[in-house]
Symmetry: C2
Subunit: 173 residues, 2 copies
């Protein structure tokens, strides 16, 4: 087990087949783009599920929920698209296991070991894709909700009886 995967377990909290899948997918996509980790938003990831593997992607790629460069499309597919704003290159990584040895198919730990060690072509397929470059994340100004007084992003307010209020206050009225 390499250092990268151990660190990812520490972040995710445990090892599981899903995490190992995400590790191989993220590694393959980053290698394809010759991409280093995103300090800011130079890399963008579009993930088609919100399962365990996305934590491996967040950790390895620096495309994180809090940085605005992790875009979630709720398609229920084991696919990630990685896009590099500098090179304008994108790649879609699809999980598709093949040649699983009989023992690995029946035992969870052996399946994880196999996922981590088998040649890349046994677990993922890569397709270069052209995508419309996603907008960078923006910081918006905040205002005080005129009902509860809490600070709220101006773009997330509602008008209720002439007052500018936050969504939870709007929904209470």
């Amino acid at each position: 087990m390499d250092k990268g995967y151990k660190d990812i377990i520490a972040f995710h909290g445990h090892s599981c087949p899903g995490l190992a899948i995400g590790y191989r997918m993220a590694r393959a996509g980053l290698d394809y783009l010759s991409g280093s980790r995103a300090a800011d938003e130079e890399m963008v990831a579009i993930v088609e599920n919100d399962a365990c593997g996305v934590d491996a992607l967040q950790y390895l790629s620096g495309c994180t929920f809090g940085k605005g460069n992790l875009i979630f499309k709720d398609y229920g597919k084991q696919a990630y698209t990685l896009y590099n704003r500098q090179s304008k290159k994108g790649v879609r990584v699809l999980f598709g296991p093949q040649n699983i040895p009989e023992n690995a198919g029946k035992n969870r730990d052996q399946f994880i070991d196999w996922l981590l060690s088998t040649p890349e072509e046994n677990v993922v397929s890569l397709q270069e894709v052209r995508i419309d470059e996603p907008e960078p994340a923006r910081i918006m100004r905040s205002v005080a909700c005129e009902s509860c007084g809490e600070s709220v992003m101006a773009t997330r307010t509602r008008e209720v009886n002439g007052n500018t209020v936050c969504i939870p206050c709007a929904e209470k009225k």
Copy 2:
């Protein structure tokens, strides 16, 4: 700067006021619940924004996008609710800075230093809350899309002309 925050910078990719805010909020909430990091789903976080600070929360609490115990409500508020499934206790942490020294208000690095070092009551307020316990994440079976052939979660398929297809294929037709 303590070890925890340094590790969080490595995960997020850079330091910024938002990350420091999330660090203080997450730390305060976890301390209130006497909660250790979530290896699985014993802790749940409901975040009311998707800004930088959430990466600090993911890293410190183990409530991560990929584990299904990070729930996003797009309210545009600097608030996190942490809930412990074992103790059934929940706390809402709200960012609200006060007593900011004049110099810290004008300089980004000094503002970060102040955010990280000022007493907790200057940056957050805590309120114990009762919430309906969120459902744990579930693993669903997958089927093959009858159009593109890719594997897709059965709960994310659509019926188009009698075929069971994935959302992107359904939207193309």
